[in-house]
């Protein structure tokens, strides 16, 4: 994995074919929680892209320079990564609140929500040490920092894309003549299932 083409493949593979929400079913809480409204889903997606990238970078550094050399990573990675991601997000939230109140309004309120969201933790762990989570994507034995970043960007953009498209669907469903018993969440679950089928279908195009 070194050429630009392979990096692009990595990105698309992480974003669409192995979409974390709709084929791996990780991070479903924000997927249903904030998808009722297009605007909030947009803010949430931006926050996810931001936090995931940050989290992956930090876990990659900690894994490569601390946990792996000491040989304690295999069993210590979850507490260590949670610790790092949580405090980093806290730090960024404080910094953002002080330096840019506007940005804080737009994105900051979502930061605590996804501090150590499962999707963030899974992606950060996978980027630091491929193979810990069954993400169905062959990343090889280990990733360079650049590859880890591209992978994380792919996952988070895929997350945002799925979340925003789902929010758009739900906004239309709100005014559609849905039977009364199915209104609201039941319809959202069925829609999510159909959307998931479509995403799983993308893998079929490539015979994966």
């Amino acid at each position: 994995m070194s050429t630009v083409g392979q990096l692009a493949l990595l990105f698309i593979g992480a974003a669409l074919i192995n979409n974390i929400l709709l084929t791996r079913f990780i991070g479903l809480c924000p997927f249903f929680g904030v998808s009722g409204n297009f605007e909030t889903s947009l803010g949430m997606s931006l926050a996810v892209v931001f936090v995931m990238t940050l989290a992956s970078t930090s876990t990659w550094v900690v894994w490569t320079f601390l946990l792996e050399p000491l040989g304690v990573g295999e069993f210590l990675y979850i507490p260590a990564f949670i610790l790092i991601i949580a405090s980093l997000v806290q730090f960024v939230e404080m910094y953002m609140r002080k330096v840019s109140p506007v940005l804080y309004r737009a994105m900051g309120i979502y930061l605590p929500l996804i501090t150590t969201n499962c999707a963030v933790l899974a992606t950060a762990t996978e980027a630091a040490k491929p193979g810990f989570f069954k993400m169905n994507i062959d990343l090889g034995a280990s990733l360079g920092l650049g590859e880890a970043l591209i992978y994380t960007l792919g996952v988070s953009v895929g997350f945002g894309f799925a979340l925003i498209s789902f929010a758009a669907l739900r906004e239309r469903l709100d005014i559609a003549p849905v039977p009364k018993v199915m209104k609201g969440n039941p319809m959202a679950f069925i829609t999510a299932g159909l959307l998931s089928l479509a995403y799983v279908g993308i893998a079929g195009w490539f015979g994966l």
Binding site: L67, L70, A80, L83, M94, Y95, R97, V99, I175, P177
Partner: protein, 296 residues
């Protein structure tokens, strides 16, 4: 059991924990943002429904504005006088009057209005308004599918047996969300009037009288009887529609009695929900006489 491994693990995790907590506690002091405790207190008094009637994005920004002094203590339209008073006490400012408004419907058609076609689609005013301009012959009348009922954050609107939305003046805060959500709100079907506005013209049509009569039996026919009868010169027929000047109206009720179409009424008179007695809405309300004196 490898003792070194355990030691390494414990040390690594505690070192990580110590470093991050040190960084966080430094940051907490370094990037501390002073929050005025009064903001929380003011936010607790505000209705918190984020209706946007005051023109601000949320109740919290209003609270911040009030505390900073950029907004007056009576900035909240929906909260009304009591809300402004409590905030004034909290802020040590002088209490000031809130110019309250309420929503009013300018249509008396409902089931009496002629239908242009049978509509069986999505039961929403917005949907039917997009279909050939609505199912009514009248282009200004109430479509009656209750988008305003859905939109009202204060549950102040209900569709009555005439097929018309009736606004409960006790619950209406004048936030104007119904006006924005009404597909015909922009042309004046729903509008905001002063809270004490005593009479209402229940028609909003501006087309030719002949067309209007064919479309609805409850319309204003621009006969000018109210204009001639009004002792305070408060009603004028403008563009073939009676318009009331609430600055001049004394709530004498003459126009209500002379209107041959019954299309002027005391605000809330025909409401199934009892009108707000203390504020002088409704013809039997005790406040009615008080208001007369005030107007004089």
């Amino acid at each position: 059991m490898d003792l070194m491994l355990i030691l390494k693990a414990v040390l690594t995790l505690s070192a990580l924990g110590l470093i991050t907590s040190a960084v966080l506690s430094t940051a907490a002091r370094r990037f501390y943002v002073e929050v005025d405790p009064r903001v929380e207190a003011v936010a607790a008094i505000l209705p918190g429904s984020n209706c946007g009637a005051c023109g601000n994005p949320s109740c919290f920004t209003v609270a911040e504005g009030i505390v900073e002094g950029t907004l007056p203590v009576n900035a909240c339209v929906a909260g009304g006088q009591s809300c402004a008073d409590s905030i004034a006490v909290l802020m040590g400012a002088e209490a000031c009057a809130v110019a309250s408004v309420v929503s009013i419907r300018a249509c008396g058609g409902g089931n009496k209005a002629e239908r242009a076609f049978e509509y069986g689609g999505v039961q929403s005013c917005a949907a039917v308004a997009r279909l050939a301009g609505g199912s009514l012959v009248c282009t200004a009348g109430c479509l009656g599918y209750g988008d305003c009922v859905e939109a009202c954050p204060f549950d102040a609107i209900a569709i009555d047996e005439r097929g018309l939305p009736v606004i409960d003046l006790d619950a209406c805060t004048g936030c104007g969300i119904c006006v924005h959500n009404c597909p015909r709100g922009g042309v004046g079907l729903l509008s905001l009037v002063p809270e004490n506005a005593p009479v209402a013209v229940r028609c909003n049509a501006h087309d030719k009288i002949k067309d209007r009569k064919a479309a609805c039996s409850a319309c204003c026919i621009a006969c000018k009887k109210c204009e001639r009868a009004c002792p305070a010169d408060a009603i004028h027929v403008i563009d073939a529609l009676a318009v009331i000047d609430y600055e001049k109206c004394t709530a004498c009720g003459t126009c209500v009695s002379v209107c041959p179409q019954n299309c002027i009424d005391i605000h809330g008179r025909a409401a199934t929900i009892p009108p707000r007695a203390a504020d002088g809405h409704g013809k039997n309300a005790p406040g009615f006489a008080v208001q007369d004196q005030a107007a004089e």
